[in-house]
Structures are given as C-alpha cells and as structure tokens.
C-alpha cells in the first residue's frame, strides 16, 4: 500500500530517477524548487539545475534554447506563473517551434488554499489547451504522476503538466497502464459517466460509491490527458450511458469540461454537467478540502449532478438510438 503524498513530491523523485539514466535531462526553476520539489534534482545534479530567479518569462526562453541543443528541459514553477506570466513565451518560443520542453507546474487549481487568487491557477488547462502542439497532462495520484513524468520525458515535443500541492491519495493500481491520450477506466458502469481529472478523480470514485448505494452504476474515467483528449472514450460513454458529469479543480470554462463538451457536441450530443469553479475567483481558505466544498468541487456535487443527469433521462421523450 502506497501512502498518500503530494504529486509534486513524486514528480521531484521521478526527475531524479530520470536524471540518473538520462544525461540530457536538465531542470529549471523560478525560485520555488523546494515547493515544486525540483530541489531533489538540484541536490543530486547541481550542474544540470538552473534556478533563474523570479523570472518565469526568461525561464521559458532559456528552456527553449536548451532544447535546441538536444537537452530535455523540465521547467517548473507555480501554474499561475507558468501559464499566465509566461504564456506568450511558452506559445511562441516553445510550442510554435515544437521544442522538447516539459513545463511542470505545481499549485494548480485552488490547492494553494491559503495564499488566495494570486497563487491559484484555475485557467491553466484552458490556456495551455488552446496552444497548438501542446500536450496537456493532469495526473490524479502518485502512481500516475510518476508514469506521466516518465511519459512526458519519452514524448518528443512540448508538454504541460499540472500538479497540485496537497497530499494525494493513491487511486490506481501500482501496475496501471499509462498512455498519453488514453483515459483510464477506474470503474465500469452503464448508467452515468463521471469523467474527472487530477484531484477530482478521487472525488468521482467517492461519488460512484454513493451512487451505487442507490443502485446507480456510474462509470469513472481518469482523464489524465486533457489534450489530446480521448475522444473515443468520451463518445463510448456518451453512447452507452445517460450522460456525463465532469469534475476538475479549474474554471468550468475551457478545461476538462470544455474539452468533453466539444467532443460530444460535434459527434454525439449528450447532456454534460460540469463540476468546477463556476467562472469566478476563489477566496483564501484555511484548508483545501474546506475550500473545495465551499465552491462545490467535491463528491457531493458530483453525486448531485449525476442524479440530475439521470432524472433528465427518465423524462426524455424517446430513448437514445
């Protein structure tokens, strides 16, 4: 049994693992290595680590330049700065020329509950998803965080990966198969589908347990790749179940919910209810769970939405073909 631990700690450990076997791995940070956990790499490989100071735009450019010389740079800072302060540098200097840079950002969503809006990123998935050439990852637990980090290193091209801050429970088997662009089916079910990413995957599993008590069989999918999103799996669920509930620690606009809606709208119109931050900024809070429940980003809300999706099916005039 693997203990709960923050995904960022697993990321730091996996960077060291990568660094041991691959001398092309280099790591950059913008003065928060102890928080992002790139400090683990910094201690082990000081010559391949660069703290560029509080200069995220410069960090992205340096990472781009390093990539042109054959290095595999991992550039880390908080998600709010990686995707917004340095957005255009990521787009023009990294994504457009398809440089082999991995941007791994922590403190995504409202995981930095205490610091408030300035240090929370509820827009990062939407922003990174809109940039061509960019792969967008959002692993849910320590096991898939390690696998996602390894997969990002193997993939040739720009990758954005979002991580949180607080301890993550293990939700996957230790031998789970991780493939970029392929959702992981955590629970089969034919009544309603719960598609979640990152932290919310665990909440979706809790919701599915609750629903099971009332006889509802909910399918639970871990959408660890926001882009390219697994359209086949979304459409399978749209066809086989009454509807979809998405869940993410992100604005309900443009992230996982948006991606799922885009797929079903054009291929198989389906009811989709989105759990997330309802297009607003969050407050500071004195605990992550408290903040999530205050903004209704939790198992209770997922359960409620699933029930609403099912109720809608029961009053629909004709069965789905």
């Amino acid at each position: 049994m693997i203990e709960a631990q923050p995904n960022r700690v697993v990321y730091g450990r996996t960077l060291v693992e990568l660094g041991e076997s691959n001398p092309r791995i280099v790591v950059l940070d913008a003065d928060v290595p102890k928080s992002t956990n790139t400090s683990q790499f910094q201690e082990r490989f000081p010559d391949r680590f660069f703290n560029v100071g509080i200069a995220e735009q410069n960090m992205m450019g340096i990472a781009a330049g390093l990539a042109t010389t054959g290095k595999i740079p991992f550039a880390s800072t908080f998600a709010v700065f990686a995707t917004m302060r340095a957005c255009e540098q990521v787009r023009t200097s990294i994504a457009y020329p398809r440089l082999n840079v991995k941007i791994v950002a922590t403190n995504a969503g409202v995981e930095n509950y205490g610091d408030g809006v300035t240090h929370q990123a509820v827009e990062d998935l939407a922003i990174m998803r809109a940039i061509a050439h960019m792969v967008v990852l959002s692993p849910s637990d320590p096991i898939t965080t390690r696998l996602a980090t390894l997969a990002a290193a193997r993939y040739h091209g720009p990758v954005y990966m979002r991580l949180g801050r607080n301890p993550n429970n293990v939700v996957h088997d230790k031998d789970v198969k991780f493939e970029i662009g392929k959702m992981i089916v955590l629970r089969e079910g034919c009544d309603v589908t719960l598609i979640a990413t990152g932290r919310c995957v665990e909440q979706a599993l809790i919701a599915a347990e609750k629903l099971a008590l009332t006889g509802v069989q909910a399918r639970v999918l871990d959408c660890h790749t926001i882009k390219p999103v697994d359209s086949a799996e979304i459409l399978r669920s749209a066809r086989e179940t009454a509807g979809i509930v998405t869940a993410e620690d992100h604005n309900i606009i443009g992230g996982l919910g948006g991606a799922v809606c885009e797929v079903v709208a054009s291929e198989c119109p389906t009811v989709v209810r989105r759990v997330g931050l309802a297009d607003r900024f969050a407050s500071s809070g004195r605990g992550y769970a408290k903040l999530l429940s205050h903004y209704h980003i939790d198992a209770t809300e997922i359960t409620k939405y699933a029930e609403e999706v099912l109720a809608r099916r029961s009053c629909s005039p004709a069965p789905r073909p």
Partner: protein, 279 residues
C-alpha cells in the same frame, strides 16, 4: 583586425544583400526595410567571416548560433542565408507567401539555417542564454550571437536574460544591439530612452563594446575582442543608420515598416547598384 579581413568583399556582398532586401520586401508588399538595412553589414560579417557554420549541414551540433531577436528584420537574415547557400535564392521572392519557407518572422522549423524562431520582441536573448548553457554543459566551444534592436531593450525580459547571462558567466554569448535609433512609433530616445546603454549593460555585468555598425574594421575588431575575454557575456552596441544605403530611407521613421512602391524600388536598386559610387 583579423588578418584576412577583405573589406571590399564584404562591402560588395552587403550591397548585393541590400538589393535583395529591397526586392524581397517589394515582392511581399510588406516588411521592414529600415531595420533590415541597418543590420545587414553585421550579418554579412558574421555569416561570411566570423561564424563557424556549415551551410550544407545546418543542424551541425558544433556550429555557432545566431538568433535574430529583432525578428521583423528577417529579410536581412534570409538574404544572407541564401547568399551563403542554405537555400536557393529564388525562395527570397516568396517571402510572406502562403506555404513559403520564408515566414514574416524567422521560423526555425521552416527555414534552413534559422537557429531560433523569433519575432516577438524581447524573447531572443533568453533563448541565447539557454543555447549557451547547453553548449557549455556539453563542453562544446560554439558561440551564440543574438541581435536585438534598440527599441527591444524596453522589454523587461531582455534584462532578465541579461542578469542570468552574467550570473551564469556565459562568455560564449554575444549580444549585438543594432542601435539604429528608431522604433515603430518614432525616435527611440523620445519614446523610452535606452541610454546610457554602455553604463546599463556594464552594470548588469556585461563586457561592453561600442562601435560603428557599418565599419567592417570596427565590427571585426569588436568580435575579435569578444573571443579573447573570458568569464563574462559580451555586448556590442553597434551604432547604425536605419535604412542604411538607400538615401531616402535613411534615418526615417516612415521606413521602419512598409514596402517601397515600384518607383521607389527602382530608385533604391539604382542607388545600390554601385554605379557612380566612389568606394
């Protein structure tokens, strides 16, 4: 001065490349002639004399790199790359056309010889810092040349990169400021002044050289000096003339951007033909 500096050869090359710049921008019906003409002497020198490159192998890992951070002056870079044989000259007349290998701003994935995608001002020097770090990690001796414009120094990221380069002691990084004194909306001094440039760069930990950016003797001396001094990044502040070589374009804000008319193109090409010149 380098022993084999053939000033006449470089001047003739630069004159031909100026003609190509005018013809490219006229053909594209848009582009930036002023800054292309101010930069071309230094580009000619770098690509024909200074840089260790192999045009038949544009991804040679040991090559010197050049980043045109002032990417809107791509016609100058394209002209010199074609002249060095990276691609056939006829591509020059496709500038800015759909599907052309010559995009409005330099694209490292489309144009052989372009080392970095640029065009959003302020970003190139950071990429140069990364390249220089990569070269040092691999114990390669290549140098990284980054050309920025005077107006570009108003962008904060340039100074982030300047601080990092001196912190990391990147002596194989050479920034060149094409100081043509004019930016899009007017005279740089009256927009946001970049002077005193020598003091500013020096205080950021750079070795500073100030030269006439149209004198091959001065250009050569400055780049020669950069090779010799270790432990610090170098910046060459090259005082240049916007639109250099075409009298009606010189020192003119109007010619920062925009194509010459057919008549203007012919007038410019006549001036650059060398006929009646005493050099």
């Amino acid at each position: 001065m380098g022993i084999d500096l053939d000033t006449r050869f470089l001047e003739e090359k630069a004159r031909k490349l100026r003609r190509n710049i005018i013809r490219m921008i006229a053909a594209a019906r848009s582009g930036h002639p002023g800054g292309s003409l101010s930069a071309i002497d230094i580009l000619t020198y770098l690509y024909f004399l200074r840089m260790r490159i192999d045009p038949s192998n544009s991804s040679w890992p040991d090559r010197d790199r050049f980043i045109l951070s002032k990417g809107h002056c791509s016609p100058a870079l394209y002209a010199v790359l074609a002249e060095r044989g990276y691609f056939p000259e006829e591509h020059l007349w496709t500038l800015r056309e759909i599907g052309s290998i010559l995009q409005g701003h330099p694209d490292m994935r489309k144009t052989p010889g372009v080392d970095m995608t640029t065009g959003s001002l302020g970003q190139g020097l950071s990429c140069g810092v990364g390249m220089a770090l990569g070269g040092r990690l691999d114990h390669k001796g290549f140098r990284v040349y980054v050309m920025v414009s005077d107006g570009e120094l108003q962008s904060g990221q340039v100074w982030e990169a300047a601080m990092a380069a001196s912190q990391f002691k990147l002596d194989h990084l050479i920034a060149i400021i094409d100081n043509n004194l004019i930016q899009s909306d007017g005279v740089t001094r009256t927009v946001i002044d970049i002077e005193p440039a020598e003091e500013r760069w020096s205080s950021f930990g750079w070795e500073v050289w100030r030269i006439n950016g149209h004198s091959f003797a001065e250009i050569d001396a400055a780049f020669e000096n950069c090779q010799a001094l270790h432990g610090k990044p170098h910046v060459i502040i090259a005082d240049t003339v916007k639109g250099k070589g075409v009298s009606f374009m010189e020192n003119s804000v109007k010619w920062h951007s925009g194509p010459p008319s057919g008549e203007e193109e012919q007038a410019a090409l006549r001036e650059l033909s060398g006929v009646g010149r005493h050099d």
